[in-house]
Homo-oligomer: 345 residues x 4
């Protein structure tokens, strides 16, 4: 359990912060971001500012997961009580699909043992407040619409590029869940619409080319071939060790092949998005995830380049591509905000 | 000017027909479908049943267009007056983009001389009623949501495959126009997300492979090679003469190469849609346009096959793919219904 | 039967012309180029200079073909006799595959009724001399190696871009027939090595994109859309009328879309060749066929651009791309030279 | 320096073995296979049977390379002298390009410090016999034509799938070097002939998809995702440790995702070859390299499947796809045989 000093501050005078000040001053909320490898939990004050920030490894076994998740939550409850705050809501953003009615995990590609777990059952009695859960990118997009870069926007797409690639979409200022409740799936986007089949249907989707893990797989072969000496020296050829920050480091140190690799893969994300942009015509695309967080300017530039190369002029006219305001905290803040708003409604 | 006996009847007991019966019994509306080559105008009764149906060639010159369009409208007005009907609204579906505020043509790839024309200015004084205009596929989708196959559905995609390919999307039961006002653009969908560039950016989009004209271009080469003897005999090798009905005829007569061609191109539409389906998770996809109208079962089956081959299980679970209820009348009825509803609101 | 004044002259001092002068001065040979739509027959003198040149439509029915083909041959025999020349050999280049042993047609995609016909049986008794037959591009390459642009070269590739696309390859200065006898097949080259299958295996090969007929199919759709006004005016939208010369004319008149189309398709030929070039490392690539003949500089430039963009430096170092010296006569001259050399050996 | 008991025996009664028995009984030859990571040296008797087999790591620094390479050679010379054998020839197969005239390294992607080294200068004075060098796949193909699976064949293609992918071609029973001396380059084969460009030209060639290293890069991501538990347990996620044998082991242990991955990538090799097969029409394709050696039946089956799916019937009629007879010894035996034959000529 690692504790991190809170260093995020919402932009001064953000409308949300001002408006709700009086009635929220003595409340807190808890935001939880459950990822395939790491889980982050934050205690937020009434202005959604971080009071405490804890990261743990995500346990793969359900019982262990339940135990480990409740420890930092108890800590947040204790502190809130000591400091005379009331915990108003707990929001969970999960790397998988969620039944919103019951805050239950429906599917979890990387955490299969957790399917069926209800965050409400796990946390409601403990916290004595509203507990809501939703997909992690849905959560992040919610946060960005309410108190982030997409505040005031109606039609918004979020793309988070991390270990995998996830998406979310808002129409008319509201999250769009779709018939399946899982709208926003873009990792499964098929890159080539025709040609002869060679083997697996699983190969050839966006996730296989542009996720952190996919880029790491190719970067490792570059390191093994001697094309990326700095990456080889700093993290070696094991894909588990090749994180987003390692790409950024290698590029700064002069590994041209890594820069070209990352840029070309981010451009593929943009090319894919050019088709979505033409179909939905959003005002703004919010990018996040580990790869974006490690090099936000490069990622935004290449994604925009890919979109600009192929979208129609009318779709491009007012389109903005930005990195999420809350970066690594996007899911936690978005999930907490979602739970607070569910409570009110 | 060709007049066609009305042969369309809404399904008995359709909710719309029942609900509005009393107060609409003595009103009519006019629906207009302005396409790149043909324009269709219908006079509808209060239950949106066709009283009269007129097709004209679309004049390319603005002045001529205005003259030719008003002739059948005057005829409808005259008949309504004679039969003691009041014309409540005129709706126009246009093969291009429309400024909804002013019912003005913003862009028209196949009718460039018409840009700037306001249907409201042209028809409001004449008809003395609400005049509304929108993109033709937007209009068709509106009709299908209100009084067609997608009635009662929230998240709907419409794809119309004719001379070109157009799309439209509804979220939460409402048409989604997007930031550009032109959401639904799918003809420009890029089929291959990466690979080396060979020449024009224009080549390689959905419209270049799956529109009626694109299929006709390849079908003509098949006819020239002797691979499609029935097509060759019936319509020859001139793409202007190879209409959707000609594909269906050639297939019935035994031109295997044409059947394989049409099926494979419709499957490409499905494969492209599999990506959109995963991103938006609609309940229903409504297909229309000349190619669909000529062979609705084949088109629906191949599009569904393409989607099923690549979309995720959760997106597919409740998904339906259907041909538009109103077939060739989809745009006219949808546009009229849109104008009627604009009037009420 | 159309007679054309001979206007081709071999380059002065070509080694062949000099060497064989004395013993060939009173001999002639006949070269025949049997294509899917047209057949060309030439009477050549001992220096392979054209004495007479006749074009006929290729009859599709075998009996008719045999009758029509022998008419100009009889005429050549008669003239040779009158002018006291001895006909030494008859060579046939055929748009299909040939059993060289018996000079018999093995397959003929566009002339299926001719399969089984033996040119030797048809012509040997009539002409009383060696009769040899081979594939048309093989014939053209033979001529270019012996008395054309590839004289003195060892490793040579020929690509002929006409109604279809054909190829041939020579290694060590000798035609390479391969195990099938049909080496050089490039029209069937699959453009995309992987991706999901959509329908027919027949679609997606080089012939479907870069043959004259394929380009005509797309050009017709451009004309129909109003993107190629000059082409539309000069030849219309019937692919049968859109010949290679029509592309060149339309480009000269300012049809940018046609220029871009032809250039991009020729570049695809180059990109495909870049893979063959890396595998075989030829010295020279000889281009021919109707598309090349109509715009040799543009075709050579775009093919070279495609190769240069992707082949390795070592393969490119000494590589030349040229248009066939004998242009429209390449097959006839090559076939005659082949028959003369078969006779000698 | 690892010594391995010789376990390879040529098929009994192979023509070579019988014919040359008397005059070669007291001679030996040395075959050397210099790869990017490992070098293998064998002492062969007069029937090309292995007397001694030594593997060393390939030193990257030239001076070190020269020292380490001569040690086992000296050992072979000593043993030959002791046992009263005369060393007739030394043949080197090198993972790069060679100037055959001078047996000098022209390029070496993985061993750049060795460029310029002449194997003749290094070894001729020491061994006092013919020293020849050539590309490693050229060497292996030579061996297979002379004393392997392609004995008696005229038109042969060899594809070796190891850390990278290399090829070679023989026409008329003779190695084809081409204008560059480097014919057979297939690792650089561009998989998609058109589509929009995304970033690097280096991405998208056969080597990036089907080499051992490329497959290892993707396999590592599968292991990291939990899709390949056996691979994860046996060798982990470091691409340097994921060798060809690890794929075979993981497949035997039940890692379906790895089996599907390897099969689909080998099928891509076949699809690529289908284009080469149509162009050259070889009688036989000989497969080798580490991936083939680890699972020869699977690799031959998938490559054949890829070819059969796309090549024309005439090219396929007599085509055979086989694994190299000499497997891991193919380069050493081929190189030695080449040097022996150079000496004779």
């Amino acid at each position: 359990m690692v504790r991190i000093a809170a260093n995020w501050r919402p932009a001064k005078g953000s409308s949300m912060a001002e408006k709700d000040k009086t009635n929220v001053s003595k409340t807190t909320s808890i935001g939880i971001d459950v990822g395939g490898t790491k889980t982050r939990l934050v205690l937020l004050d009434g202005n959604l500012q971080v009071l405490e920030d804890i990261k743990i490894k995500t346990p793969k076994i359900r019982q262990e997961f339940e135990e480990e998740l409740t420890k930092p939550v108890r800590r947040f409850l204790k502190r809130s009580k000591e400091e005379d705050f009331k915990v108003s809501a707990v929001g969970v953003g999960f790397a998988g699909t969620i039944d919103h009615e019951r805050a239950t995990i429906k599917s979890a590609p990387n955490l299969p043992d957790l399917v069926g777990l209800s965050f409400r059952e796990l946390l409601q009695d403990l916290c004595k407040c509203e507990v809501a859960a939703l997909n992690d990118v849905h959560a992040a997009l919610y946060g960005e619409i309410k108190v982030g870069k997409a505040a005031g926007c109606k039609d918004v797409i979020a793309i988070f590029i991390g270990t995998g690639i996830g998406g979310a979409v808002a129409i008319g200022g509201k999250l769009h869940f779709g018939s399946s409740g899982e709208a926003g799936n873009i990792g499964h986007y098929l890159l080539h619409a025709f040609g002869p089949l060679a083997g697996s249907e699983r190969h050839g989707v966006l996730d296989d080319f542009a996720s952190r893990l996919a880029i790491a797989g190719t970067a490792a072969t570059f390191a093994a071939k001697g094309w990326a000496p700095h990456l080889l020296e700093s993290v070696g050829t094991d894909v588990k060790n090749i994180k987003s920050a390692a790409f950024a480091d290698a590029m700064r140190s002069g590994d041209k092949a890594i820069e070209e690799l990352v840029r070309s893969r981010m451009q593929i994300v943009g090319i894919v998005l050019s088709n979505i942009v033409d179909f939905l015509s959003p005002e703004i695309i919010v990018l996040g995830g580990g790869v974006t967080d490690a090099m936000p300017e490069l990622v935004c530039a290449e994604v925009m380049a890919g979109i600009q190369a192929h979208s129609t002029a009318s779709s491009l006219r007012d389109l903005k591509v930005v990195a999420a305001r809350h970066a690594g905290l996007a899911v936690t803040i978005g999930a907490a905000k979602f739970a607070l708003d569910v409570k009110k409604s």
